[in-house]
Symmetry: C2
Subunit: 374 residues, 2 copies
Amino acid sequence: MPAFPRFTALAESLPATVPFVGPETQERARGEAFRARLGANESGFGPAPSVIEAITREAALCWRYGDPENHDLRQALAAHLGLAPDCVVVGEGIDGLLGLTARLIAGPDTPVVTSLGAYPTFNFHVAGFGGRLVTVPYRDDHEDLEALLEAVRQHDAPLVYLSNPDNPMGTWHKADKIVAFAKSLPETTMLVLDEAYGETAPPEAIPAIDALSDMPNVLRYRTFSKAYGLAGQRMGYVFGVAETVSRFHRVRNHFGVNRLGQAAALAALQDRDWLTHVVEEVAKSRDRIAGIGRANGLVPIPSATNFVTMDCGSDVNRAKSILEGLGARGVFIRMPGVAPLNRCIRVSAAPDAEISVFEQVLPEVLAGVPATIG
Amino acid sequence: MPAFPRFTALAESLPATVPFVGPETQERARGEAFRARLGANESGFGPAPSVIEAITREAALCWRYGDPENHDLRQALAAHLGLAPDCVVVGEGIDGLLGLTARLIAGPDTPVVTSLGAYPTFNFHVAGFGGRLVTVPYRDDHEDLEALLEAVRQHDAPLVYLSNPDNPMGTWHKADKIVAFAKSLPETTMLVLDEAYGETAPPEAIPAIDALSDMPNVLRYRTFSKAYGLAGQRMGYVFGVAETVSRFHRVRNHFGVNRLGQAAALAALQDRDWLTHVVEEVAKSRDRIAGIGRANGLVPIPSATNFVTMDCGSDVNRAKSILEGLGARGVFIRMPGVAPLNRCIRVSAAPDAEISVFEQVLPEVLAGVPATIG
């Protein structure tokens, strides 16, 4: 039986690899559930009780399509940001919105600049539309703004990705640096500013809304997946100049956002007390994870996110052995994918019970992993 | 402030129009909610109580990403269909999967064949990737299989869309006709067989799974949005030859399916009694809608779907006046978008209370609409 011969040349050229393997896949392979789920930067602190109530209330209406305009949520987000509703588009998580962004700007062989080891899903989407990734090494575990700018100029790239705070390293730049970077870009380069972890960052890391809101070449991405605790609901949003943002409507899947997600996100946005509570819990958990790491000879990197990345003091082999050892003992974590970041492991903030499992298991794992291997 | 100048030429060429305006948009415009929601072919009969329970149970875990493999649901669907799990891919509704299909096969100027007046969202996605739509008129309110085949051959099209049962007309072809059509297509043409309304169709309308399951150029699309009553959860699936289906993994948003949707769909698939109940209710509701139409001088077209399309006896102006009159009185319906189908209105099956509103309002509306206008 011959295969279908007329997929596009681009589709045929794409690898079958995926950006991330889910923890469930690993659980099926090991035949039991993880005892601690610390790998996907989800929020084990959960969404607010008010959000669960909103979901439960809306469940009886899940036979109705969600509002394709995401009107109520967009209004609330706009009010929250101090922008006009037309400056905001809601999508199926930041991942979905990054896919649309790549589609709108990156065609075959379009140069797209990002940091070497930054968010793989962005790279997946760029490659999926034929874009050519130009990568810039991290500098001292931070995204290197000067080098990113230089690469943009050198390649005349129409698209550059920056996460602040950064994933997978947890580091951040101050707002004034980010604003200066944005303003130094050519007007012909779109900045994808991924602020997925903005809520857990120190305030001075996040540019004021109006610092960038008049720039047609800046898009800022935020999510309900992290601090708001709604990863499973797939609710992200992007904001920027209305005319720029309007392009998403030309290509998005208009009915793609699920109805309970809309209700959940709206309730989450309104429950500021819960967000404050979670941000406090995340900060405490980061401190605890860092302390556990230090007590075991790892070097935690200061983090503005809901995870802590820790230097394992050697190369990929040691970090990988630790990750695998933790996994075998029921602790799901992840690690950066490329050198030199992959000397590290990445552990998500979580409720104390899960961190205690990590605390208990880590020394057992390290006992079996030599200080330097490779 | 200049606009961002480097969206792709394709993106810049796309119109800002959307395939469907949601009822919420109309409700906001009229300043009050519809009394009867009969326009989007949702299932007012709702999902099964067991499904609501599954959603409520899973809600506390919505801080976790859904399994990107959709493993449990895919296993259950595969068992249900009698296929290997690798033959099934789950996505964000049929709409999302149609978008991926267009992306995989249609590039700039690729000819894509569909019926004139068939599903606008498919057309939206094809146009969104630069494809060139080749449309074939309906014949006697049915999609015209011979003419579709002829257009495929004439244009050497790699992609052809067919919904069976059909939306927006509600008509259907028997399974043997569909199978013969599929087998008559060149091996270089992918058949998109949209079976969104398959559950409410007479059994003889739906090809056996194994009648098409060895054809690399056939993809069948089904959904939990219609008979299963989960439109708001955005759960669809596509199945076919494993190698064909595998292409979706190269481009899909792997974490794009929401977790409560996964739980809801799995529960819905297992509750066969509820599906049987809903299918019976839909059949009764279709009969009632048709009866109301006939009593008011409209001509209902026999339907295999969860809606009834009714000929208003004149042209677009009469149908549109009826639609607008119903809308002004709180009854949301839709109508086909192009001639000659747009002589009709389309009314979704729904619980009796809503149909009673339609029954009450329709004569009032018709009293104000002359038999022939235009």
